[in-house]
Symmetry: C2
Subunit: 218 residues, 2 copies
């Protein structure tokens, strides 16, 4: 049997990084919801490894505020207050706005086509009430844009914020009964990017980033 058929990213990486990435991906798309509790030994058993790598991954996620870790108590997915969520989306707006503005001149025609595909994926996921697929396509849409800003550190920070707001957004989407509220702002974003209008792109992205606050705003 050839090895090529197996997943390959494992060997050069560390076990700790494996579970870290796994948790991060789950938070990003809302496969973990606010209040969910996570145990070191349970996760270790699921992954078939010792508790050591898992504990490191959880501690790191707690440090970057993707999880809460009280002393001697189980790690949990943070249940943000509206104020905390608003703060996060405020940061996302300024950070993603700047990234979009810087990325505008560097988007290729191929990129724009990919963005349109992501938009369509989001549309069908939204009407299916499939929060996970929706958030996944949404993240890939934004990540592609920001990656063209040629600033890796900035991309990391934005990704972190997506991870932290993921569970909140998933909770918000799942709490809706009517999927009517969705308006295809993303097409406007793609149009602005295509025209090379950096200022407009920035404004639209800022608006889109703040959209997540529309849930539960009291």
């Amino acid at each position: 049997m050839h090895n090529h058929s197996e997943k390959f990213p494992d060997p050069p990486r560390t076990l700790s990084a494996t579970v870290y990435d796994d948790l991060r991906a789950r938070l990003l798309v809302g496969r973990l919801l606010p209040g969910d509790t996570i145990s070191i030994r349970t996760l270790a058993a699921e992954h078939g490894m010792s508790a050591m790598p898992v504990r490191e991954a959880l501690k790191q996620l707690a440090l970057e505020r993707a999880l809460t870790g009280a002393l001697k108590r189980a790690y949990r997915v943070p249940d943000l207050t509206c104020g905390e969520a608003a703060n996060l989306f405020q940061i996302r707006a300024v950070l993603e706005g700047g990234a979009a503005e810087a990325a505008t001149p560097h988007l290729s025609a191929r990129d724009l086509e990919t963005l349109r595909r992501r938009t369509r994926q989001m549309d069908v996921a939204w009407h299916k009430q499939d929060a996970i697929r929706f958030l996944e396509a949404n993240f890939r849409f934004h990540a592609l844009i920001y990656s063209r800003a040629r600033n890796d550190a900035l991309l990391d920070l934005i990704e972190n914020l997506f991870v932290r707001t993921g569970p909140w957004l998933a909770k918000g989407i799942l709490s809706l009964d009517k999927p009517e509220d969705w308006l295809g702002e993303h097409e406007a974003i793609v149009a602005a990017l295509e025209r090379g209008d950096a200022a407009l792109s920035r404004r639209l992205i800022e608006e889109d980033a703040r959209w997540g606050m529309s849930f539960f705003q009291s």
Copy 2:
């Protein structure tokens, strides 16, 4: 003997957090310089503890890019390229600009007085070529402003960026022979804040954040 005379923040916290904070403080003020190497067991011996807490702290710092951690090789303080440094200062500019704008209406007269004191401390440290004291006062100056923006998550992110740019700034300051280049822009910032001019404060802070790029720019 009374316990009140001892440092108190220790007991409720974890050993791992202790060495984490210690390293972070050292990076922030440039007591660790780019290229410096850090060993788990050495640090553990210095702190009189097992290697376990130290490894967690180092891994966390590596994760937030405050240290580099190649596989099976010693952790080191990153020696940033000019491009990477420029990226970081670009992020600082947009993030700190936004924070300053939001904080402007909430600064008290007492805050402004403290800011002026920090400015004076920076001045004397600069003329003494004391990079550590300079960076410490500089950080406290900025941190006080941003703390008034009432956005803890934003404050965390900015602090992280200070930690990451600390060694670079220290290297830059120490490489200068003449301390002539220092211009007291901070007084202008305080003046703008005192007048409640949010837009001007933002612009001045952005300018100040980009100042760190003036070293070694090729």
